[in-house]
């Protein structure tokens, strides 16, 4: 059965509506959202209310968490001071616009959702702020899935959709302890695991302007990345009219690949 996984909606209502329409056209009713309903975009309340109305299972993203708990991520979240200032402005703007009910909704979202062999998180099983980039160390990537006791890890946060298969792995070790004279050798095979990044509905950063999400078939294990066109002009105008930094609109309009993310993908915020 097909299920859709969406992430990083970022208060971009036209993009969310277009993606939900695309999902509906495929006859898919099982949808999971990996968080970041708000932040950067101009329609935070509208997007939350749509997710609530559609009863979409959602886990908490880093923006959702920060809007509720206050900005307590360390400055690794941004690649530059100017990006950090823009991010903080958007944070403040979003906090002011959100209704109490919607803040409560974000506050009560779970960190992760588990369905059989699949685990759904925003960033990584360690943190909503950790980036699992497609080129991160393969063993570290496998460790994230394996330690989470999942076979397929669905994540977002990077805004770059991808499917990563980690297979045919093995590790050999030599061990020695103080109680033994012998050196033991062990070799173990590593399990095949997958990481699926759903990309971003509301703020794509894969080099294109289309919203992205993934469709997963839980019978065949097949995963497809979907790209969906939406009315970008509408969102851009709303960003400008809301008084948010114009670069947010420019980024959407141009499919800016630049990702506002930490240099060190393995870094986990000490909170």
């Amino acid at each position: 059965m097909n299920q859709a996984v969406i992430s990083c909606l970022h208060a971009n209502l036209p993009a969310v509506e277009a993606v939900l329409k695309d999902i509906e056209l495929q006859g898919i009713t099982n949808i999971t959202c990996l968080g970041d309903l708000v932040g950067y975009g101009p329609q935070p309340n509208e997007v939350i209310e749509l997710i609530k109305e559609k009863k979409i299972a959602t886990c908490q993203g880093c923006w959702d968490e920060d809007v509720v708990d206050g900005l307590d991520a360390c400055d690794c979240s941004y690649p530059s001071q100017i990006a950090e200032r823009r991010g903080h402005f958007a944070h403040q703007w979003t906090t002011e616009k959100l209704t109490k009910e919607n803040k409560d909704f974000l506050a009560n979202l779970p960190y992760s959702i588990r369905k059989d062999k699949c685990l759904f998180v925003h960033g990584s099983p360690n943190s909503q702020h950790e980036y699992l980039l497609p080129d991160m160390d393969a063993f570290a990537a496998l460790e994230r899935v394996e330690n989470a006791k999942a076979e397929i890890l669905f994540c977002g946060h990077t805004h770059q959709p991808y499917i990563r298969e980690l297979a045919n792995g093995s590790i050999a070790v030599k061990v020695k302890n103080s109680g033994s004279k012998d050196i033991q050798k062990k070799e173990m095979n590593l399990p095949m695991r997958r990481i699926v990044n759903a990309g971003s509905v509301g703020e794509p950063r894969h080099g294109g302007t289309k919203a992205t999400y993934v469709v997963y078939n839980d019978i065949t294990d097949d995963v497809k990345i979907r790209e969906v066109e939406y009315d970008i002009e509408l969102t851009c105008k709303a960003i400008i009219n809301a008084g948010l930094p114009p670069i947010f609109a420019w980024r959407l309009k141009n499919g800016f690949e630049f990702a506002e993310r930490a240099e060190d993908a393995s870094h986990v915020c000490e909170r």
Binding site: I171, K174, K176, S178, K181
Partner: protein, 240 residues
Amino acid sequence: MIERWALISGLKGDLDTYELIQKDLKKTPGNITLFVLGDMIGPEKNCNKLLHRLINPKSNDLQPWCIYGWWEEQILLESGYRGNQRAEALRINKGEEVVKSLINAVDKSFLDWIAALQFGFVELDCGLIHGSSKDVGDDLTLDTPPLTLLDRLTRLQVNRLFTARSTQQFHLELTEGILNSEVHDLTGNHKKEQKVPQKAVIGVGAGKNYTLYDVGTDNTQFVRAGYQSEKKKNGFGLHF
């Protein structure tokens, strides 16, 4: 001259053991640097004399380079050095009495010194940490999955990780391995084969059990204070 590191941990206020180790190290050949990987304090005995000695070494002592360990973290938590957090994990696992004993075992005048200690050292291509790069309480042992060990090494970008939390002495070397990674994205398929780099995790022991590391040869030796080097006596020095 041979450069050696002596890695000790888990003294928990035991000045006698510390003096025994200092005595041992004076007889050990080479240019020795002494690292104390945390747990200088504990709830069992008064720790003030040991802390005073670590802060004010005797003229013939090897200078100790200290980092904080799990017990130091607990006292800092309980003493309000970590914001509103308290040592709840300790309280739940060991009870209120142990929390009180820990507080009573360390004079408040030492807390600022403890709070100023570093989480770990990175020397050459080695990480020296009480637990791991993930957490001061991370308990790495021989039974920890190699993937987890690799992750802890990768986070710190080191080839050797010296850890003390488990109190065990061990040397686990990741010798070889492979993992195929295939990424499918909107630009196509990208295949990559990654090999396990030669890295090792070394448990340094605790109390009288400590570790000598020859920087030049990468050899690890497990030692018990007050005895001749086990390497010489029993021939089980490690040569990885």
